[in-house]
Amino acid sequence: MSSAMQFYVSVILIYLGIDLIACWGLNLQYGVAGVVNLAFIAFQAVGAYTAAILSMGPAQPQGYQTYFIGASLPFPVPIICAVLVGGVLSGLVGLVALRRLRSDLQAIVLLVFSLVATDIATNQVGFLNGSAGLSQIPLPLESLLNLTPLDYQWFYVGFTAVACLLAFWVVRRLTGSPLGRAMRSVRDNEYAAAALGRNVFAMRMRALIVGGMIAAFSGALLVPIVGAWAPSSWLYGETLVLFAALLLGGRGNNLGVALGAVLVPGLFLEGTSFIHYTARPGFIDAVQWIVIGLLMLLVLWFRPQGLLPERPRRVDLAPSLLPPSRWPWLARNRLAERSELAGRPE
């Protein structure tokens, strides 16, 4: 493989890994807990900005970019801080968006948050360098490793892969646990969940915060490899790309979501963005948005459950696998007519 090709492939793989992480985060919020977080990309941006300003060092007084804080903390401190800031900010947004609102209105508040965040980052120039954004963001461990640019790319592919495994471990633990079940119960019927003693607000808040931390994590991984980060990198439409990935792959199913992440943002967007096309500049970008919209429509019409739908979590109820019942009195009425019930249509 030529080194240009290797570079291309490595970048695609890194982007793919980051999209995977982001999609799992969004799936935890939307697919599992039913929180329609239309501001997801803003939390990725929060992670990206935090990691950037904590690794770039102080802004130069006569420099071309101005931003607040500005520190050069060693790896992996910027990433950890990004994750924490993502969590805290998600919590603050959730206090406003999730409280006392129906879930469709929650989605609108979150969308508005995304727009407001873009406006603030664009217009408060001294905050995060306005619409020009931040640039020359250093690569983590670059000086320490002292690799050629191409070798560093492959190092980062491995690093992203490890990050993916970590993210997958977290979402799998959460979704496969009683917490995941409680979140899915809130998603399916919030009133019934509340009537069974579940605090719906707290349950959604957990999903928003953990998902926000995962979003920020993906942003912190993304920003050094892009090298620059500006409001145009995280317009609200980017969230819709991730939603398209969830819908196509199969929301609620971590593997389905992974498939969606490979297909939509991974191959389809990142892949085609490197195609040399000689017609009008911006043509491919524009077509991509149209195709994303059509894709969402077609999926919702023809396969609303996605390519790999959420599957029932079956438990083998064979008595040998279970401890002896601690409530034998409950079983006393177990009847021989079971099969009768099964055979009797309603």
């Binding site: 119960s185 009133y191 579940r198």
Partner: protein, 266 residues
């Protein structure tokens, strides 16, 4: 009008008052859905709540269980004032309800529906979930054992691993009742559990409800089918126009002029 519920339900059972509702009011922009409802339910009894459409039965259920805050009045559960408390906290105090429209968790299996009905526990915290099965597996197995027993009792064991959303209407009702029982309720409010249920299953549900008494669960049954209420309940409260207008056995209240008026005039 009689003054109902002035103390214990005269169901003939010795039991402390479990639920005490005093002058409960709830209005929706000028409509008085509850206009001073008062009743008391003795522990261990099965009481019916009947009345014509629009009498306020479901609103009473919603306010008592915390889904809707009252405009005024008090609700006491086992002596504790729970008026205006959000429904998840009411549920944690041992009051569980089912809904008029079936409210199963459609994309959870029947077994998961029941497990989701267990009282909140440490496996549902983020840290508990991250610690993994070794941390929560043991209690989960206990809960599965318990759910299995309940599914056996409600004759749903073969549906355990099916999505609850795919069950028939009657089976969904059973899932809801079983799910509510997973949390060891003191008081169970069943809001029209017979809607859309086949006659054969109606009898089974009746038997299940009567068995709850032996398990020490107090039941409030909101139901239109008076024959069923008469067979199952110790006594009934009759509601009309947001108030409780009578209390007694079905036989007794049937003869009261106020009740006849309410049913005829609405």
């Amino acid at each position: 009008m009689t003054a109902p519920g002035s103390g214990r339900a005269d169901s003939g059972r010795a039991g402390d008052v479990l639920l005490e509702v005093t002058d409960l009011r709830r209005s929706y922009t000028g409509v008085h859905a509850l206009a001073g409802a008062t009743l008391a339910v003795a522990s261990g009894s099965i009481v019916g709540l009947i009345g014509p459409n629009g009498a306020g039965k479901s609103t009473l259920c919603a306010v008592v269980s915390g889904s809707v805050p009252p405009t005024s009045g008090t609700v006491r559960l086992a002596g504790e004032d729970i008026s205006g408390m959000p429904s998840y906290r009411v549920a944690r105090r041992g009051l569980r309800r089912t809904f008029q429209l079936s409210s199963e968790f459609g994309r959870l299996t029947v077994l998961e529906n029941l497990l989701a009905g267990a009282a909140m526990w440490r496996g549902e915290s983020v840290s508990g979930a991250l610690l993994g099965r070794r941390f929560w597996g043991r209690r989960e197995r206990d809960l599965i054992g318990r759910a299995r027993d309940l599914l056996g009792r409600f004759e749903l064991i073969e549906k355990a691993n099916d999505y609850a959303g795919k069950l028939s209407g009657g089976q969904r009702r059973l899932v809801e009742i079983a799910r509510a029982l997973m949390g060891d309720p003191k008081l169970l409010i069943l809001d029209e559990p017979l809607v859309g249920v086949s006659p054969w299953l109606v009898e089974r549900i009746g038997q299940h409800i009567q068995q709850l008494r032996e398990d020490g669960v107090t039941v409030i049954l909101i139901e239109h089918e008076l024959g069923f209420v008469e067979r199952i309940c110790d006594s009934v409260f009759v509601m009309a126009q947001g108030r409780v207008i009578a209390h007694g056995t079905v036989e007794e209240v049937r003869k009261l002029p106020a009740v006849m008026d309410a049913y005829l005039i609405g």
